[in-house]
Symmetry: C2
Subunit: 197 residues, 2 copies
């Protein structure tokens, strides 16, 4: 392969999640072939994002403004905060456009293995928001993993004193899910939380 | 998802080969998180490529110079041209660093289905290189598909008049390949071209 610039670009693209050297080479070639329709627009778009996108000082979302459009919106329920692990979870929630409250992005979950403590997460800023008052419900939408559950329990005990309603997402059989293909943990959870009809 | 710039970037990244909307979102998030170590270097690298990489006027390779470093090199065998379908094939050959001749990138193969004729490929420029003289061997390293084989035969008959040695890559069992897992076409080919020991 000739051209140091190309080698460098391939290496950088290979660093992106879900890509390896092989796909990075294919992408680089495609960019070189479609200079006008792909490479130049991509540079422009990346530059726009780099110049304009900020991290929201309140909730941790990415937007062109800080506070972000969700935090700044007067139409959204000010009294409910949905706590999520990552901005990707916030995006997933927003795609459903069912939840009309505010968010708080923790930036991770507690993990003894990875050495992630409460100080590494945006928990202090969440407590500030709560202590300012006006919040009545905290939805803890953290992942259904061991670390996620530990973080949920940590937040539960830490914010107990504020007398908030604290909820978590329902767990059970997903929509369209067939019992036959569910793991035992999910079936047990769904049985435990069975609803009366 | 908030921020039109982010939406636009996700859509552009999703257009790249081997990527869909889901992986494009993950990549965009990663870029936003690693602004200094990933986003800004990527913009710089893409800009470098856009500004500096040209298509070689002789062989069709991508390089910072035209003629490219391979075409310009005096150390490489001037008398042998390896004809490949795409720049990615040229890169694959160069990674082996066994072939020491020159290249010619056709930019595709003949295809009745896709309406690709000889005029759509870089065949005229290849004929010019041959007719200038000095070329003794043409290695037709086109894909082992029906269209690739048709293109090989087209080139064979078109360049017959120049009295060149024209060769093609050997076909057979790949290195480390086990008979059990080979398709019947490959086994038949390998049998047909069996070598005396």
């Amino acid at each position: 392969m000739s051209g140091q610039e190309i080698e460098k670009l391939v290496k950088l693209i290979a660093k992106l999640p879900s890509l390896g050297t092989r796909s990075a080479r294919r992408i680089t070639l495609q960019l070189l072939k479609k200079r006008e329709s792909l490479l130049l627009p991509l540079i422009q778009s990346l530059t726009d994002v780099a110049e304009n996108i900020k991290t929201c000082e309140i909730c941790g979302n990415y937007d062109t403004t800080s506070p972000c459009s969700i935090c700044a919106s007067a139409e959204r329920d000010q009294s409910t905060i949905c706590v999520v692990q990552d901005v990707s979870d916030l995006w997933a929630m927003e795609r459903v456009s069912f939840f009309k409250g505010k968010y708080h992005v923790l930036g991770g979950v507690l993990s003894a293995l990875d050495g992630i403590t409460a100080e590494d997460l945006n928990i202090d800023s969440l407590e500030q928001r709560i202590s300012h008052g006006g919040i009545t419900e905290l939805i803890l939408a953290l992942p259904a993993t061991v670390d996620g559950q530990i973080t949920t329990h940590y937040l539960l005990s830490r914010f107990k004193k504020y007398n908030l309603k604290m909820t978590t997402l329902a767990q059970g059989i997903p929509m369209g899910g067939e019992l036959e293909y569910m793991d035992e943990g999910t079936i047990q959870l769904a049985l435990n939380s069975r609803k009366e009809l």
